[in-house]
């Protein structure tokens, strides 16, 4: 999970390293993701979002498609 200066820089980096170009996320979208994950992390009742919550957060940001599907992100196993 990395920062890039522009879409051009992402495409160049992926081409050089043979990686697929994944969905691009703006800083505003990233802030919403970060706040959704961590705003309560220092509180006793906090938890990492589960798959259903993840889907709702992603959908709220317009992050759709298989890349964002957390279905096999199983919980409960170390």
């Amino acid at each position: 999970m990395l920062f890039f200066r522009s879409e051009e820089r992402v495409r160049e980096w992926c081409a050089v390293h043979g990686h697929p170009v994944r969905p691009l996320v703006s800083m505003d979208q990233l802030w919403t993701l970060a706040a959704s994950w961590y705003a309560t992390r220092l509180q006793a009742e906090s938890h990492r979002p589960g798959p259903a919550e993840m889907r709702a957060i992603f959908a709220g940001l317009g992050l759709a498609g298989g890349f964002w599907e957390p279905r096999s992100d199983a919980f409960g196993s170390p």
């Binding site: 999970m1 802030w31 961590y38 298989g66």
Partner: protein
């Protein structure tokens, strides 16, 4: 509050106060429990995606968004410097602290420095982008790589 939550809060509180990872005795003292209880709780917190340990089973590698080791993603808030596990977590540190901060990182392709001021309501307008190679379903298969 149960043991696991006490241990979790002790770990996260130590990171928030110092920017550094706590050793098990420090977690124990802060939580008011024994070191053995702390070490017993660690695998359960790992299962809840709240903790990643080094191979020794007792050193904290990650308590997301905080990193227990230096990374390319630093966040300065107040007088404390923190390290984040990734770009997402770099914004996660001000979010978790409910304080403003400055993210210092870089463009992975060009090496250009990123200096991003993050207020309590998020960053100001910025053309920078976030990119993740690993699909969400696989993030925790190798969270250090992710």
């Amino acid at each position: 509050m149960d043991l696991d939550d006490r241990v979790k809060l002790a770990i996260y509180g130590h990171f928030a106060d110092t920017g550094c990872r706590p050793a098990p005795p420090e977690v124990a003292a802060r939580a008011g429990v024994g070191v053995a209880e702390v070490l017993d709780a660690y695998p359960r917190l790992r299962a809840r995606r709240l903790l990643v340990l080094e191979e020794d089973g007792s050193s904290v590698r990650m308590a997301p968004p905080f990193s227990g080791v230096p990374t390319q993603h630093a966040v300065v808030s107040g007088d404390t410097r923190y390290f984040a596990n990734c770009a997402w977590d770099a914004l996660g540190i001000p979010a978790a602290l409910h304080r403003s901060g400055v993210v210092h990182s870089r463009c992975e392709e060009s090496g250009e420095a990123l200096r991003l001021e993050v207020g309590r309501g998020g960053p100001g307008p910025s053309p920078w982008l976030f990119h993740c190679l690993v699909p969400a379903a696989l993030w925790w298969d190798d969270i250090v790589f992710t």
